[in-house]
């Protein structure tokens, strides 16, 4: 069986949405613990976009974003990626480090480590929910971080999706802490062979 994101049926789509929902929910809880603040989360939006529309996401191909990429190992292989707008990344780091939320100086080494740690925790909690849902062993690698144009960062997951079809599937999640809103995008990108493993483990295909 070969999975094509361009024409996923409703059932598959609902399953992927629900995974996104639960994963992002767990990530929000983990973020709340990390920040020691109440973190609310809007219902995540699952988006399937054509490649030519992808660059308009996050506000344009040239805006600066922070991308955190982790390899996924275990029964399922692939990548998980979390993308934050530069300002949002600053907000998160400033809250975490107890700095003025409006501070947008260039990230220091320790702030970059803090961002990686956020990526670690968000991706880790996302994957552990996926793991308990499916019974599969799924482990993340150490995160890699890149700060660059949105288009260039998104090209990484887009290329992986490109091996399967002509669309990108991702989950837009909005976290808020008090009046501060932080929007982040999760991309869960199973390797080609792992889609089937994932859907089978979820009982969607037999």
């Amino acid at each position: 069986m070969s999975i094509n994101i361009d024409n996923l049926d409703n059932l598959h789509m609902d399953v992927l949405k629900e995974i996104g929902n639960i994963g992002a929910g767990n990530a929000a809880t983990a973020l709340a613990k990390l920040l020691n603040k109440k973190v609310d989360m809007d219902v995540p939006k699952v988006k399937v976009l054509k490649f030519n529309e992808v660059n308009e996401t996050l506000g344009g191909a040239e805006i600066i974003v922070v991308g955190l990429l982790l390899r996924v190992y275990g029964d399922l292989t692939g990548n998980i990626m979390f993308i934050l707008k530069n300002e949002a990344a600053h907000i998160l780091v400033n809250i975490l480090m107890g700095k003025d939320p409006a501070d947008t100086m260039e990230f220091s080494e320790i702030e970059l480590s803090a961002l990686k740690e956020i990526g670690n925790i968000l991706a880790g909690s996302y994957l552990s929910s996926l793991s308990s849902l499916t019974g599969l062993s799924i482990l993340p690698s150490v995160p890699e971080l890149a700060i660059d144009m949105a288009g260039a960062i998104i090209s990484v997951p887009a290329i992986e999706f490109g091996k399967l079809g002509d669309s990108v599937l991702y989950i837009e999640t909005e976290f808020s802490e008090g009046s501060t809103k932080v929007v982040g995008d999760f991309f869960l990108i199973p390797d080609v062979d792992s889609y089937e493993i994932l859907l089978r483990a979820l009982g969607v295909i037999s």
Binding site: N52, E62, R71, A146, M149, A152, G162
Partner: protein, 161 residues
């Protein structure tokens, strides 16, 4: 104002002079810029994957380096260009993330550039300049009036090739 036309991800366009073709935020994808030195007809492709023969779904020719080059040349010839006069410039093919255990899929940028060179070589199209590799994104603009490819980056300056 010049006629600036955007080329998206997995997209390609060819046009007559005067025009500027641009593609924003090239990461591991490769930008293939073609220029007819006589008629000033230009073409730009933003390809994601090196090889269409490895893929099951080939409906979008602009997605692959090999088919996007063929298709771009076809479009340019249709506009009145001659293959013998076309020259190429390459940009992109970065590795945005560095993993210590670099798997093959992480080196996709490099593979895209190699595929572009191989395919252009086979077609006898000279590559007159390139700005490829590295670990950063690029926005590129191809100007039909002189064939100059302008490359903008974040933190790595602006250059013309």
């Amino acid at each position: 104002m010049e006629n600036v036309i955007k080329v998206g991800m997995a997209d390609l366009k060819a046009c007559h002079h005067p025009a500027v073709l641009t593609t924003l935020g090239l990461g591991s994808c490769v930008g293939i810029a073609l220029y007819d030195i006589k008629t000033n007809i230009i073409g730009l492709a933003h390809a994601m994957l090196p090889d269409s023969t490895q893929a099951k779904n080939r409906t979008n020719v602009a997605k692959f380096v090999d088919t996007s080059i063929d298709s771009l040349i076809y479009e340019m010839v249709r506009l009145g260009s001659n293959k013998q006069r076309i020259v190429a410039k390459l940009a992109g093919g970065a590795q945005m993330f560095t993993f210590s255990q670099s798997s093959d899929s992480m080196r996709i940028g490099y593979r895209n550039v190699v595929a572009a060179k191989d395919n252009l070589y086979k077609l006898g199209i000279p590559i007159i300049s390139e700005d490829t590799g590295g670990n950063y994104g690029r926005t590129i603009q191809l100007d039909s009036s002189n064939g100059i490819l302008l490359i903008k980056t974040i933190g790595y300056g602006v250059k013309e090739i």
